[in-house]
């Protein structure tokens, strides 16, 4: 089993993600340089948070054209696990692996704080270790996390059960007050139709160790590792 964490110029959660996979859940992991095109040796690829290419044009808009992304798209289409966190989510939307876009936060400010997130779907390779409806405490840190898509796409996401996380109150209510950035239907994370690509704005890698006050995010990486074990067993 091998995880890969992509380094785009301007990625800044690459080391944090690498740390969680190697030290916290103890799985093999490598960095993938954005100019690489061969990703065949990986079983799961993570696009980390940060400000790829400075996010000057639009978050994730330039990263999608980097050489590695062509391979990541193929990798995902072949069923490989792809997790996009924060800027990684923005890149997944820009690259078309996930629908919709992330607009500027409702109050136009960057927001860094812990929020509550309700787990909506547990039948993805990223959320198998959670309970349905479980409320997680996860940090967000973004200026552009306001999820938006057209009505048809929204209906599709809802009917196909592809909204994986929603911002909620501590007891799991989906309210406007619990929505930090104005996202449609409090959407914090979505997956693709095949359920092997997940993008989310909160940072599970920042909530994976009790020393940091919360380890609700750890199960996301454990879910991926478990799913990979199953997959590799099935293949063998």
């Amino acid at each position: 089993m091998k995880f890969g964490v992509v380094i785009f110029p301007g990625s800044n959660c690459d080391h944090d993600t690498y740390h969680v996979i190697s030290k916290v859940i103890g799985q093999p992991v490598d960095f993938i340089w954005h100019k690489e095109t061969d990703v065949d040796r990986y079983d799961a690829i993570i696009l980390p948070g940060g400000f790829s290419y400075g996010d000057y044009l639009r978050s994730g808009a330039i990263a999608r054209f980097s050489p590695v992304m062509k391979s990541v798209v193929e990798f995902a289409n072949d069923g490989g696990f792809v997790l996009g966190i924060c800027n990684g989510f923005q890149i997944l939307c820009e690259s078309g692996l996930l629908p919709g876009a992330l607009l500027r936060n409702r109050d136009l400010k960057f927001i860094c704080e812990h929020v509550n997130v309700r787990v909506e779907q547990t039948d993805t390779v990223f959320t198998g270790a959670y309970q349905p409806g479980q409320v997680l405490s996860l940090p967000i840190a973004h200026g552009e996390g306001n999820y938006f898509c057209d009505d048809a796409t929204l209906a599709e996401l809802e009917t196909e059960g592809r909204v994986v996380f929603r911002y909620s109150t501590a007891d799991g209510q989906i309210t406007d007050e619990a929505n930090p950035n104005g996202s449609l239907r409090n959407i914090a994370g979505i997956c693709n139709r095949q359920r092997n690509v997940l993008g989310l704005m909160p940072h599970p890698e920042r909530a994976a160790e009790s020393m940091l006050g919360c380890k609700d995010g750890r199960a996301m990486f454990l879910s991926m590792a478990d799913a990979l074990v199953q997959l590799l067993k099935a293949r063998a």
Binding site: P9, G10, N12, C13, H15, D16, H19, V20, G49, G50, F51, Y53, G54, D55, Y56, D107, K109, F110, I111, C112, E113, H114, S137, P139, A141, G143, H203, E205, R206, A208, E209, M211, L212, G213, C214
Partner: protein, 778 residues
Amino acid sequence: MTITSEILDQHNITSDEYERLKQLMGREPNLTELGIFSVMWSEHCSYKSSKVHLRRLPTTGECLVQGPGENAGIVDIGDGWCAAFKIESHNHPSFIEPYQGAATGIGGILRDIFTMGARPVAAMDSLRFGPIRDEEANESNDQISAKTVARNRRIMAGVVKGLGDYGNAFGVPTVGGEVYFDPCYSLNPLVNAFALGLVRREQIFYGKAEGVNNSVIYAGAKTGRDGIHGATMASAEFDEAAMEKRPTVQVGDPFSEKLLLEACLEAMRSGAIVGIQDMGAAGLTSSSCEMGARAGNGVEINLDLVPQRETGMTAYEMMLSESQERMLIVAARGHERQVLEIFHRWDLDAVIIGKVIAEQRLRVTHNGELVADIPNLALTDEAPKYNRPMKEFAVASEDVSPKIAAAIASKSQILNPKSGKGMMTELLGYLLASPNIASKQWVYRQYDHMVRTNTVVLPGSDAAVIRVKETRRSMAMSLDCNSRYVQLNPREGAKLAVAESARNVVCSGARPLAVTNCLNFASPERPEVMWSFSEVIDGMAEACRTFGTPVTGGNVSFYNETEGRGIFPTPTIGMLGVIEDAKHITTQWFKEAGDVVLLLGATRNDLGASELLSVLTGEAAGGVPKLDLAEEKKVQEACLKAIQAGLVSSAHDCSEGGLAVALAESCFSSYGRFAIGAKLDLTEHAKLSGLADSATLLFAESPSRIVLSVKAGNVAQVKQIAAETGAAIVVIGEVGGEELTITCNGETLVADSVANLESIWSSALPQALDRPMQMAAD
């Protein structure tokens, strides 16, 4: 071109200085050379007015690896790891252009850290603005006119966004700091940026141009016309035309800086680099002559080879440009290609622009001509130094108690409407709503304070704490200065600032290790300002000696005055401490019902210069709180020993707003825990302190006090530790319930729900700042 007195004026060079310049050069300079001298001899770069005083600071200590004089100070934190840290001001640019001024402030300090080989792992900011609340507006004083108050808000919003956007994109967590408001900062906001990085002891790099004939490499962003004469601008007071100086402010690009960081660290690890320095103030000029001077060599550069953003730039413009995100590197012989390739891999410019020479000179050619040829030392060590005239002023000693009593009496109608909660409860609410005390969440929510996943104590507690992943240790850091104290009594005020920063770090469970400082003052050409500077140095030196914390460097910012009005002297202290074991990390918040609350230290009649006086009368007056350094040391020792013995649930120091504010803050909610009340009785503490007056007991700002909460079973041991250390301690109550009640001698002084108090405290800044954007009035 002949150098006329008009040209000298434009360069802020006096006729005496010009005589010295000619003597050192042995001839008349050309305009490019004059420009180079003007920036290197500016107050900002040369420390010409401060150097004679800075020598009195203690700069040696066991932990010290690198003291003042390099890009940043470095201390040993154990297990082969070192911390590089420094604070620097970007006040003048932030007034002219808040967003870019602040952004390039954090950009500059981050480069100072990674140029030493250290990866930046934490940032903090000390910010000061004029009043931001409309209700404080008063047209009779233009420092607080409605227009100025609106402008203060715009400056604050711009500064916070600038710091956030740069630090967030770069990927350094901004973990703490301080924000203060006073009318004296209305036209002189202060932006002091602190950064800290980690480096292995054997991997530290220095800004030295070693090895004659080694190549000098320019790496990073291209040079443009921005920021020309930034250092000179920062070395003069402002007048009405200040806004015309906007082009002297640089423009920051955190993306380039992030690439530069990764490329520099990679190049350093490759072993191909001999010396490196960032191009900060005075850009290419300061980096080339300082690197040469430190190594006893010289540097020769050819400007034709410098990557340029614009065409037709003159030698003068290139040498004085302060374009951001640039580095000057001396490569090891034969490894030049390796360095260039690393930078190119990160899509950055990197070219060889010159070489190290044996003569101690800065030699610059452009279009095939020698355009500058200056002895290095003339620009650095031999720059003018002034022992400027000083004039002592009487430090304040007034007892403000009668003033406060009168103010309370006259305001009783306003302060005590129909709540029936009593005067002291009303006053506490009034203080909690004061922007100096209110929650700073509005600010730190805009900073990514968690990236790098080391932030163990989130913003809001006494000190920020980050873990060092590679060791068991953590680092605590705090920025502190109550400039009101310093204004009224410079020497004592400086001591109080050092004492508070050490106390904050101790409250988090850390042993204070070393200090960096940012000395913000008005014009050094005014004798009373210079006297207060000298007093501050002596006060700081004495306090630092007491705590055994050497000064590792810092920054002096003079001329913080506009239209003849200066700021309060503001020596911001940045204290670094080490927590030996993660299990000793302590926060200020009460943890559990049933825990016993103790107070270390005594309260005195210290209402002078207090926040209470300020919110009641708008005045900064009276004798400052009395600090006994020996007593302070005992209190800190007792606190740290109790924490290290595993006996303490929470520790919070008393500062602005006094004991009552400290107690309320300990009750407020924090991440992962709900707010919790406390029931306190100050009778015994009042007896011990010899005090009867309620306002004094609750709101006096006596230093050397720490509120502890401990498990009931630990009380005896904690008392024992305090007794052995010689610190006063009494039990003052118990944690629990939803109310904060404080009684004394059977009388209820404060009684309110914690939820209500917390709502006052947390809504003050959003109420003042989150309003529909107003159009610029100027």
